[in-house]
Symmetry: C2
Subunit: 296 residues, 2 copies
């Protein structure tokens, strides 16, 4: 069968903007021969996220879509619940802060105040809450055609991106069937995912028919975030961690890794797979589209 | 000139142990043809670090050298000062905790208690402290021969490691001249660096004549940690972030990136470089030793 691997940027609702001046900087240095050279290097900025009056975390981010990042982070941490009404999301570029305001004080703030008095850092707390948040999460059934996986891989690798421009950055793409919809990049792969979650919160886009593609490793954090978003499939060209696989199996998430050219491995949720593509008919990745370890 | 690229594991004080049963797990799944396959997958465990009675953070780690990780994390965060006397480091495998005890209550605990009452998470705080910690840091002068960089690259790529065994993991290596000394791996590149910092605290090993090699990106966090350790050179096969370069230039750190085969780029501290190797005489990386994006 014919794979739909044609690249049409029109398909994207949000595509990377490699030319955005605020996201990269030309930096001068020397190459291995001692000759002057200039590189495009990705930016990295602190962004402090507040939930109402409560400072929650300072994230290191490339700096685009701060509102989506804040909304998505709070959602994926279980700090914003389904019945919380967001009354405002205010970004202050100068102060490098985003304040997410909700109608009623969220239960999370009290909890956090109480816990942090004895804990010192919410990281553990937050992580605990994420696991709690997973209780009762059941991901919808549905089919995942292997032809979609190959098509998405081919399209995403050839989409102009900050990665191809400057490297040292992770990409995460929200997809439906063989179509990439929202492509976010960030210095931290978790930020890229949170920005997609924020976009979904903002637009009310459903998760049941979506596939999340990431360039990053399939760690527990990535699996938990995907499950918190209600997305039943997480695919990556990178590898797995044991706990990531364990959690994926607990919540019934389809986990696809090491997806390169003709190859991939499925370590969880194989029941969704529909084998409609002949791997040997899939072209291997062209060298120039192959992701190197620059984003490690 | 002849490059010293011979691999002698005897050179290492600490080398990776890919065969350690606790660090990887065989996980079964399906490959792209639907055939059953089994992968070696790296472990990932939470480890909660305490400073005396104060819970500081929960790190996700592969689980080896928890004492070094705790010591190094606290040191690199500026929570353990030069004049703090460590009276004990107690790891509890069952509780997944490490408690670092100091003779006197560290100033950090009070500060943290005060800040977290209003901040909710120490991440921002901690980050602020790291930048504070950098004030007055001056890294020692010294020479960095390009032949050492090529030799280290070649040796480290061919050293048996969890990365070569299972992928999805970062490596960081403490080196002197062309000799790799301590090679730590972890699911988080910051953990691998912290474990090296902990080893240096424990052994009292000096930093002035060292080179830190990492598989990960040269982010602000990596540059700050290296400077906090007093190591004047940070080299990576991966790329840069703009803020990482900025901080490196502020503290006079030599920053080498995109180091692959014959190529590298120096974006800070080029004054330490001694050009004693002919790049064209350096063999390109063999495919099987080339790091792929599995650790992204």
């Amino acid at each position: 069968m014919q794979l739909a691997t044609g690249l049409d940027l029109e398909d994207f609702l949000i595509a990377p903007d490699p030319s955005a001046p605020r996201l990269t900087r030309a930096v001068e240095g020397l190459d291995q021969t001692g000759a002057p050279t200039a590189l495009a290097v990705v930016e990295e900025r602190p962004l402090t996220i507040y939930l109402n009056a409560q400072e929650i975390v300072t994230a290191m981010t490339i700096g685009d879509y701060p509102e989506y990042l804040a909304l998505g982070f709070l959602k994926n941490q279980g700090m914003l619940l389904a019945d919380d009404v967001v009354t405002g999301v205010d970004y202050d570029e100068e102060l490098e802060t985003v304040v997410v305001r909700t109608r009623r004080k969220t239960s999370y703030e009290e909890k956090l105040k109480k816990k942090t008095r004895t804990s010192g850092c919410a990281v553990g707390t937050v992580f605990g809450d994420m696991m709690e948040g997973l209780e009762g999460v059941t991901l919808p059934a549905g089919e995942l055609r292997t032809s979609w996986l190959y098509a998405l891989s081919a399209k995403i690798n050839r989409t102009p991106s900050l990665y191809l421009e400057a490297g040292a950055i992770h990409g995460t793409v929200l997809c439906r069937q063989d179509r990439p919809l929202v492509y976010m990049e960030d210095v931290g792969r978790h930020n890229a995912v949170d920005k997609i979650a924020g976009w979904m919160v903002q637009t009310g886009e459903g998760a049941a028919d979506k596939i999340l593609y990431t360039t990053g490793r399939l760690t527990s954090e990535m699996v938990i975030k995907t499950a918190m978003m209600g997305i039943p499939v997480l695919a990556s060209r990178s590898g797995f961690t044991a706990w990531g696989v364990e959690i994926a199996r607990q919540v019934g998430l389809t986990l696809i890794g090491r997806m390169r050219g003709q190859r991939f491995v499925c370590l969880s949720g194989a029941e969704r797979l529909v084998w409609d593509a002949d791997p040997s008919a899939v072209p291997e990745e062209e060298r120039k589209h192959r992701r190197k370890s620059a984003a490690e």
